[in-house]
């Protein structure tokens, strides 16, 4: 038997660390946990758990089927828990996002372009969501996706609810 056991987290099994403040304010660290955040989210809410100017990390609870979304720049979806099917398709010119826009937007209806294919991703799998493509997620059972993206109109900020605020 291997001597070392690697511990990952999940929606059903996570243990949170903490900031032990000596001479600082705890909220300066914006300390949260993606599994805890996703456990309190509605399916496919894009909740920011990290922000560095316009860039964000979003914790997304994957459950059921999402809307189709599209984005003018590359995004990356890292599955942190569960199994997620990601469908990808081309959009029509009229559906294409503003090339200068940041963050993803919900597509109005189905993508009008041809299907590009799909990816089935499990814990630890990272998938490119190429700029200009449409994508949607499907999860039979609740899972968690971490998104590397830019703040968009649907990014939700609720820092006071998710980060450690007391020493």
């Amino acid at each position: 038997m291997a001597r070392f056991t690697t511990r990952f987290g999940s929606l059903n099994d996570y243990e949170k660390g903490r900031v032990e403040v000596i001479d600082d304010e705890p909220h300066h660290y914006a300390f949260s946990n993606v599994f805890e955040t996703a456990s309190r989210s509605r399916p496919y809410e894009k909740v920011a758990v990290g922000k560095n100017r316009q860039y964000v990390l979003e914790a997304i609870r994957a459950e059921g089927t999402s809307d189709w979304r599209t984005c003018a720049h590359d995004e990356f979806a890292l599955v942190m828990d569960g199994e997620v099917r990601i469908e990808l398709a081309k959009v029509s010119d009229s559906q294409a996002p503003d090339p200068d826009s940041d963050g993803s937007v919900t597509l109005d209806g189905e993508p009008a372009g041809p299907p590009m294919g799909e990816v089935t991703a499990r814990r630890g799998h990272m998938t490119l969501l190429p700029k200009g493509a449409a994508y949607r997620f499907h999860a039979d059972t609740p899972g968690v996706i971490l998104m590397q993206t830019i703040e968009g109109p649907d990014t939700i900020f609720k820092w006071a609810e998710i980060v450690q605020t007391t020493p």
Partner: protein, 331 residues
């Protein structure tokens, strides 16, 4: 027609090997020498001694990261500040005692000059038995008289994906065949790859890979490397074991997301070294490291840490001028 400007040749200030076989080096008024156990640093107002293995581990990161973001403290006295074109080499500048006694010393120098001298020092002072990137349990000794070299270890390819690991033409995934066996601490990490079903004609546009398997095959510790790029947003995961060999001082907010296992962080004031907090991170935890702190991590078991950087070039000035706060979010 595009042209490239060649960097001027750098003259490395070095001397003859001492009786232990190691060459001395000089950068401005800083003098460096080593013997069997220690590295000695002298500057006009003081001197300092470091264990050779600790010095080489720090030097290896500074060289490999090309001075990284902000400050690379080798310990509480010696380090570098990256100004992205020039580098400060300092002694005592971020140490309250040295500052109050006015014994600190700092010299700014062109990046190529310090880079090439540090590379030559790392090459000459690293013996064939020692890998500065490895965990203590995975490498031999740094000590003793000069004993060959370990150029294979100290000149490893630095992973820097342009878009994402696994994308056609970009950095590729790791395997036994490519020389990256699963690390002894990660033998239980699933190695399955995602299932990609591309429609005809779109084979090159779909990309997905097992990041956790990729990290389980990392042969280095405490070495953030870019795996995905969203404009200036860089995912730089790394595997951590034992102690971060430098104390990293930020010039921008940096974020950590603990992917597996556990790391303990000491967080100090960047300029004085005064302790500000301790942060315990477990799987799924996310924490910002403010722009005015320095930090050092402790990992009892090899763990996977996602370091998230914003590489925007204007950040250090915006933060140092007070136009941006040193912490990332307001509640």
């Amino acid at each position: 027609m595009a042209t490239t400007e060649a960097e001027p040749a750098v003259e490395i200030q070095s001397g003859e090997p001492n009786e232990a076989g190691y060459r001395p080096f000089q950068l401005g008024e800083f003098k460096f020498r080593r013997d069997d156990y220690f590295v000695y640093i002298d500057w006009p107002t003081g001197s300092h001694v470091m264990s050779a293995d600790a010095f080489l581990k720090a030097l290896q990161r500074d060289v490999a990261w090309d001075f990284f973001y902000g400050i690379v403290n080798f310990d509480g006295v010696i380090g570098t500040v990256n100004h992205y074109g020039t580098v400060d080499l300092f002694a005592g500048r971020y140490n309250d005692g040295y500052r109050k006694a006015e014994l600190d010393h700092l010299e700014n120098m062109p990046t190529p000059a310090i880079r090439e001298t540090f590379k030559a020092m790392l090459d000459d002072w690293t013996n064939e038995t020692f890998d500065p990137f490895a965990s203590p349990d995975e490498t031999g000794s740094a000590f003793g008289p000069k004993n060959g070299d370990n150029r294979r270890a100290i000149t490893r390819h630095r992973v820097a994906a342009a878009r994402m690991v696994g994308v056609e033409g970009d950095e590729q995934i790791r395997s036994d065949e490519s020389g990256f066996p699963v690390n002894r601490h990660f033998t239980d990490v699933p190695q399955d790859e995602p299932e990609i079903r591309a429609e005809p004609g779109f084979e090159d546009e779909l990309a997905s890979f097992n990041l956790f398997a990729y990290l389980s095959r990392s042969d280095v510790t405490w070495n953030p490397s870019v795996v995905s790029v969203c404009k200036d947003s860089l995912f730089c995961p790394t595997t951590e074991e034992y102690i971060l060999p430098i104390i990293h001082g930020n010039d921008r907010v940096e974020w950590f997301l603990q992917l597996s296992d556990e790391i303990y962080w000491d967080v100090e004031d960047r300029d004085s070294g005064q302790l500000r907090s301790k942060v315990v991170m477990k799987p799924g935890d996310v924490a910002a490291m403010p722009a005015d702190i320095r930090h050092q991590g402790y990992a009892p078991k090899r763990s996977m840490l996602l370091v998230w950087e914003n590489a925007a070039g204007d950040l250090p000035e915006l933060i140092s001028s007070g136009k941006l706060p040193t912490y990332p979010v307001e509640l």
